[in-house]
């Protein structure tokens, strides 16, 4: 069963003091903390079998390759990918999306075509498509977001049309928290012959995600948000879509044969993994997945829903603070963004930090959506399996104190 104390004790950093207070880490949407099991797995790589993968006949190289490919299998199983080869290791979500932009997209999108994204995208799932649109002459469109923070699906029939070649959409918004109906969007995309890319940076770490069930063509996420190190990320691609695609980065590993003036390509996934891959962080990602599997992703999701529900209610008690995103916690991932008309989020952030509480403040790499709702910045508390309702209580209490502190001058 789920044991919060037990889980917390796996994360060495949680015992840390910040400004004299016990750390309360509520910045998980930016990056997650790592359990002892992952940190140890990483050390083991370097202590036991560190070696370059794929190219050697010696024992270390063989072991390193086995561990690396084992990690690929674990990732594939975790997201229910049909075969390990459809899992490409990259640095992070951003690189995964750029890879698709520089390969499938520019090879398959042309003038007059449309790329559809949403108004709530992270810069990483927006700026690459601006470039593709510019390069190919395609038009970039955005599914609007309603006042309640949901995708406005009323215009979808018009937005997803015969010209649409790609729908690129965030699964769970790192700003509004919204869980988007990606399965439905995949159906609609496929109905008009378009492909769908899902930015799963905020979903894969926090809930069961099944690429076969979603029937997505591309799915991207970052290791560092799922208890693994920051140097590893994943791009899942349907084999039929990527199989014969021209490569992106070029160099060692991704070639079959090389002559002075030309080269031929290796098979997937190697074709898209140029140079020495970050096998060590991949192994650590495998360990993170083992860790989460032992808890169970359903458990992770329900724990975060509980915390979020608790938080959404508790926030109601705070004057001057307005919550952003859907009101219903079942429609949200485990994060709550908010803003105040009285106090800038940075100042709140500094106040909270004095009490050891880490939240994110700023635009969270979602500037256009902030601009749309007229905010330059917001605050955001985001949760993971190790967070507790006691921590929420502390957050609320401290926010209350902050509001008093910063508004005291108002009445003087």
């Amino acid at each position: 069963m789920f044991n919060s104390e037990q889980i917390r004790s796996d994360f060495p950093i949680l015992t840390r003091k910040v400004n004299g207070h016990q750390l309360v880490y509520l910045d998980n949407a930016a990056t997650s903390q790592k359990p002892r099991q992952v940190i140890d797995a990483l050390s083991s790589v370097y202590e036991q079998f560190n070696s370059n993968v794929h190219r050697g006949v010696h024992t270390l190289s063989m072991e390193a390759t086995e561990h690396y490919e084992d990690a690929r299998r674990k990732v594939a199983e975790f997201i229910n990918a049909p075969e390990p080869e459809t899992v490409i290791f990259v640095r992070n979500t951003t690189e995964a999306i750029n890879l698709v932009a520089h390969t499938w997209a520019i090879q398959n999108i042309g003038p007059g075509d449309e790329i559809l994204t949403t108004e709530m995208e992270h810069h990483s799932n927006l700026v690459p498509w601006q470039k593709v649109a510019e390069m190919t002459g395609a038009k970039l469109r955005h599914i609007p977001v309603t006042d309640t923070g949901l995708l406005d699906t009323s215009q979808l029939d018009q937005l997803i049309n015969e010209k649409t070649r790609l729908v690129a959409v965030v699964h769970v918004s790192n700003f509004l928290g919204t869980i988007n109906p990606v399965k439905d969007l995949a159906d609609r995309a496929h109905a008009v012959g378009a492909r769908i890319l899902i930015d799963s940076a905020q979903s894969v770490p926090h809930m069961p995600v099944d690429v076969i069930d979603l029937d997505c063509d591309f799915l991207a996420f970052s290791g560092h948000k799922i208890m693994a190190p920051p140097g590893i990320g994943v791009l899942y691609c349907k084999r039929s879509v990527i199989q014969d695609m021209e490569p992106f980065l070029r160099g060692g590993e991704m070639v079959r044969e090389v002559w002075f003036d030309h080269a031929t390509w290796n098979d997937i996934p190697n074709r898209f993994e140029a140079g020495t891959p970050n096998f060590a962080d991949a192994v650590a990602l495998g360990a993170a997945i083992d860790y989460l599997n032992a808890i169970g992703m359903e458990q992770v999701r329900s724990h975060e829903m509980e915390i979020t529900k608790y938080g959404l209610e508790a926030f109601q008690s705070l004057e001057y603070l307005k919550i952003l995103g859907p009101a219903d916690h079942t429609l949200r991932g485990g994060l709550i963004a908010f803003h105040s008309t009285e106090i800038h989020p940075h100042d709140l952030g500094t106040f909270l930090d004095q009490k050891g509480i880490a939240i994110r403040t700023g635009h969270h790499c979602v500037m256009p959506m902030h601009r749309k709702i007229g905010l330059p910045a917001s605050g955001r508390a985001s949760f993971y399996i190790y967070n507790t309702t006691e921590e929420i209580d502390l957050l609320i209490e401290t926010l209350k104190a902050a509001l008093t502190y910063f508004t005291k001058g108002s009445s003087s």
């Binding site: 106090i343 800038h344 989020p345 940075h346 100042d347 500094t350 106040f351 004095q354 009490k355 403040t361 700023g362 635009h363 500037m367 902030h370 330059p376 910045a377 209490e397 401290t398 104190a401 502190y405 910063f406 001058g409 108002s410």
Partner: protein
């Protein structure tokens, strides 16, 4: 929940400038127009100023959005540079930056800064130093532009 340590950052005067920013307007036909933006946190300052025939800053106005530190620093700066020459303003930028970087100031420098010295409190919050500096870097850019 006392927050004494925060009081050195959020001095009463700082919060006062934040809530009631001085010279909070953009001047038309300004001789100086400069914009500062911090891409990581989104703080923004737009600075405008007029120079009289002797090259003295006769009028200053700013607009901006951001945290108490960035906005109060801007507001306080507009008061401080008014009626100074560009050269004096430039010297002020240097002294202010040095102060924020932790340099011990001599009496003359401290006098020159006047009430700006209260922003020293920001030094204990290294991540916020760039907030305090945003408006000053913006002014510096403007002066360098003017000198071209």
């Amino acid at each position: 929940m006392a927050s004494e340590s925060l009081d050195s950052l959020y001095q009463e005067m700082v919060l006062d400038h934040y809530k009631k920013p001085r010279n909070f307007r953009l001047l038309e036909n300004a001789d100086i127009h400069s914009e500062g933006f911090n891409p990581f946190c989104g703080d923004r300052v737009v600075l405008t100023a007029k120079l009289d025939q002797q090259g003295i800053i006769s009028e200053v106005g700013f607009k901006g959005e951001g945290c108490a530190i960035s906005q109060s620093s801007a507001s306080m700066m507009t008061e401080a540079i008014q009626n100074r020459t560009l050269a004096e303003a430039k010297e002020l930028v240097t002294v202010f930056k040095e102060m924020m970087q932790g340099k011990m100031l001599d009496q003359k420098e401290e006098d020159g800064l006047g009430s700006l010295v209260i922003l020293q409190g920001v030094r204990e919050y290294p991540v916020r130093i760039k907030c305090a500096l945003l408006t000053w870097s913006t002014l510096q850019d403007a002066i360098l532009e003017q000198e071209k």
